[in-house]
Symmetry: D2
Subunit: 341 residues, 4 copies
């Protein structure tokens, strides 16, 4: 029997309406490398959604690629990045950022979110040319443990960065889930105002592949396509990305898909809570981290795919459950039943 | 009026049967990052086609990425690459290879192909630690100007490399076109025997995107996925690549598509020849470089998209015409008519 | 009035007998780039002192350069370094290691020394290709806060590394001070047996400039001069380094100079202790970190140069006092008097 | 019998008056890492000599290091360098420039000198983000084959660069020899006006080691010490460099030493000419390249050290003869005698 996977939000292919769009446009000839009509149209739609007609929008294949391209574009070789110690860039990109020459100064946090105080603690330790020079702050929203930034938090971060001559970058691999969380008060245009660059994740929100890098700060715009090309991120058939992002943003599909993922996670977390289990972090997006008895975990593993995240004590562990645009409500319900048995 | 494009072989999307396969497998849950069943199956098919059960096969998004990953995997920081001066890696990757630390020693060639003598000329100039140490030879088949290697040429290169402790790598962005050329006598299993690593280009031969890296030399296999990940080449939905390569290699689709591209190019070049025009290089694959009067070029440009490659004299220039799996015979015929008018 | 500096161990020039040697050999013609007779002779002397006739010895200008060359030589791009979070390579080299592509996985320690448990904690977190692959452990002896490894500690580290397929590297910027500490039980030949590579610091122990890299592990020896050259570390007049290391190692000068530095530090720390002050870490080498009242610190600063290292509480701070081969006993005595007034 | 070396201009140690200065200042305590009084004084002297009070002057150990630091400071990762194909940076630095991420676009020249036309030929081939973006022109004066730029040539280069948004950098490893050549009409202040950055070579003109980087363009000045530190170029005892450059520039020692080297080369080349031998390039500085019969070369090799540069035909080869500040006139005379026998 094949297991039902709650491992991640990229276990399925692509939302059917996006596949339809790829089909319909398939044989129309287009220029290569992102110079096609679809990318232009998708960029326009995204600029519209965030009410920022001057932002540059570039489409690339993967989130790690987006991080690599933006961060390396923004930095001189002696400049560093500040992030949490669980940031994807710091842990799960096989040293990609260091491989292009930059140190990441990490700060330990409890909830995966950076605060001005965290950043200040790094700045206080970096005073002269014997050390790297912190230059850009990188945050994720939602974070790697499913938490999200609210408007006040992001505004404070943004203000602090501006006052300290730091750039602010947001890894939006799961931005859809963050922006459609019940706990969220940020909208896309807030993000565009508060950060210097970010990316809107498609891969984990219904696209076949693809992320939209948004460059808000004029200083980062120049020669950006050179960086994309050099980091091997300029797809010959850029149309593949453009067509998908048109579908995601011509109406509300991007937000609808994320809402579904969130609602499945909420359904799960409410039930888990009502059964008396606690969570490693408060469940607010499509990644939740319930703490379950090891025995129960073993039993669930027979039918479901998920990761054991962290040992809590000899009897309990936190697991990671991820829902997606494609998660079936019946699978959630089945999981809930098995939780109780 | 939209022009008919002969600019490149990636102006359209994907072969319909591949799109069907993506559709059929779309909602089946799979593990991420290339650990899915489809990638495993596609790798098996490719190993079968080249009669090399021990080769490692990895799927990634783009040709520049394949070059970057293989070459950087193979080299220490002081080791260099030998290529022609028109090699894609040397000219058209925005310095991606240098950006990860390696010098490319280029040799000027007339037909885009490297010979043992070319390589020897580089080796003769590199004797000690004040210079880089040449370590890998990178060739393209077909080459950047459409020429192809025959079995004798590739064998001689391979022998020379082995005797000189050099690795041999083949950029197969257009390997399909090379292997199905009327002038070709190489088969996939020859390639696998004669080079240490190569990639089979999907993007330019009917795939939506995707290349299959084949690592034949055991020494290059270790930790290869670390390199893919670090260069941001590990696609979350690796299934997208696996599904496509199954379609290309479960029967003969890969070769059939390339044959079509070649036959369209042959039809064009025969007519061009019969009209008394010469070629910059002998037309043997899906890229041809006829030399045409500038006046005719200007007229053709009104209806067709293509690149002017090189000025020949005040009256003539060489242009690049590229055909693909999707090129319509009617468009070729229309072009031929317009050539004569 | 010029202050008396206890800031560091490189405030003066070079030990006079070394300067004499430079003078005597000055006009004798030699080959460049370390191929001179003096470098050969110095390497032979060092191999003799450590009873390892097969080690490779290379001379370069500076400690940061030694770290950069050895670590980058030893690693593939996805491999990482494990060090303490106060290691010179992790903090005070302006990101030099990351600039050539490698992540440093740091561990927080109390006394500046790494243990097998520290290393294991990093290994436990690194399991697959989504993360870097730890490959080399880098320690400093004496450490950045003046502590030293004893034979048992270094042996345990070495064993642990061997059992876990990790290389072990020792930054010996202040190896002289470590090996001549009253608390030390290691000799040079122990080091050469227990680590894969290390360097013997000249700059901070009486040389004008210069460090001797010792490569013990055969696997790291190949093409090492290519790495030195590429990192701009091959000095045209390599003789300058060879001549100095002959002086340091033809008799016992290297050890005598370090002993003097240590004895000056011991004299200071004994008096400081007897006055009732505590230390941030136990004083065992030529760097000591007494905790003094802020008021006293301010007064001392009028006559002496030294760094305030760390705030302890509102009334006290730890300061760093460094002695050297050139520290005058009269200056130490004067400092002691001023401590008491 | 030891051979007399004409291999290079760094076969001896240091000019005696510089050694005296090192001796006199030896035990005076100074701050480390180039923040000492001597570096400050030397920088002031150099700024005075070139009549440019605003230039930044930094002292580092070696020429390859100077090139590496300046070029990497000036460039973004996708920007490239234009140089001749025999430039030291392109051939004899073991790929150091590529190792920090930059492509060098080389141009073949006959006399080792770049012209605006050469640069234009590179610019013409680089039009979009698929290629690197040429950003800095790197020349050497004197060049790697002993030729020198005159004022008109350098002015034209400088104008061309300014009009094309290119920076101009000059590798002055042998700037002393260039500026004191009989054929020279440039002075130090011309250089400072015409280029964006350059370095004044000490190592090959009488210093023990050391080069003075001069940054003229304000845009390149920011955070420059970060770059020096990161490339491991910040010497702990920076005083060693400062003291030497004071000696070289407090009076005319720098120029006097170069004049001696040139006069020895001139004496040699006049005699060689009068004996009917030709030269590979016109002899104008301290590197000359006479074309001699192979038999004579073999005979000379028994008593003299020098490099055979290039085969001319079956009977003759060009050799490289280098004179220095330390070349003895008696050795030159002896060589002349042996040429004739």
């Amino acid at each position: 029997m094949t297991k039902i996977s709650f491992k991640d939000d990229y276990s399925e292919g692509v939302h059917p309406s996006i596949l339809d769009a790829l089909n319909k446009t398939n044989l129309i000839q287009q220029d290569g490398y992102g110079m096609d009509d679809y990318c232009a149209e998708a960029a326009k739609l995204i600029r519209g959604k965030m009410d920022n007609p001057n932002a540059d929008v570039h489409f690339i294949s993967a989130g790690s690629q987006a991080n690599l391209i933006v961060l390396s574009s923004a930095l001189k070789s002696y400049e560093s990045i500040i992030s949490t110690d669980i940031a994807h860039i710091a842990v799960h990109e096989a040293g990609a950022i260091e491989a292009v020459g930059h140190k990441i100064n990490t700060v330990c946090t409890e909830n995966g979110k950076l605060t001005p105080e965290d950043i200040k603690s790094v700045l206080d330790q970096h005073g002269d040319e014997h050390m790297v020079k912190p230059r850009i702050v990188s945050i994720s929203n939602s974070t790697e443990i499913g938490s999200i930034y609210d408007k006040e938090e992001l505004t404070k971060l943004s203000d602090f960065c501006k006052h300290n001559n730091l750039l602010l970058y947001l890894d939006g691999a799961r931005l859809g889930s963050a922006l459609t969380s019940e706990h969220n008060d940020l909208i896309l245009s807030d993000i565009a105002k508060l950060v210097d660059a970010f990316y809107i994740g498609g891969t984990k929100n219904g696209a076949l592949l693809g992320e939209a890098i948004v460059v808000c700060n004029d200083e980062l715009k120049k020669d950006f396509r050179y960086n994309i090309k050099q980091k091997a991120g300029l797809l010959a058939k850029g149309r593949v990305l453009g067509v998908q992002f048109i579908e995601l943003f011509k109406d509300e599909l991007f937000f609808d898909l994320a809402k579904h993922a969130n609602s499945m996670a909420t359904k799960l977390s409410k039930e888990i809570s009502s059964l008396g289990h606690e969570f490693l972090t408060q469940p607010v997006s499509n990644q939740i981290f319930p703490i379950l008895p090891n025995e129960l975990i073993e039993k669930l593993k027979e039918k479901y795919g998920f990761y054991v995240w962290q040992k809590i004590d000899d009897e309990k562990s936190a697991v990671r459950i991820v829902t997606s645009w494609a998660t079936k409500e019946t699978d959630v319900e089945s999981f809930i039943v098995d939780l109780q048995s």
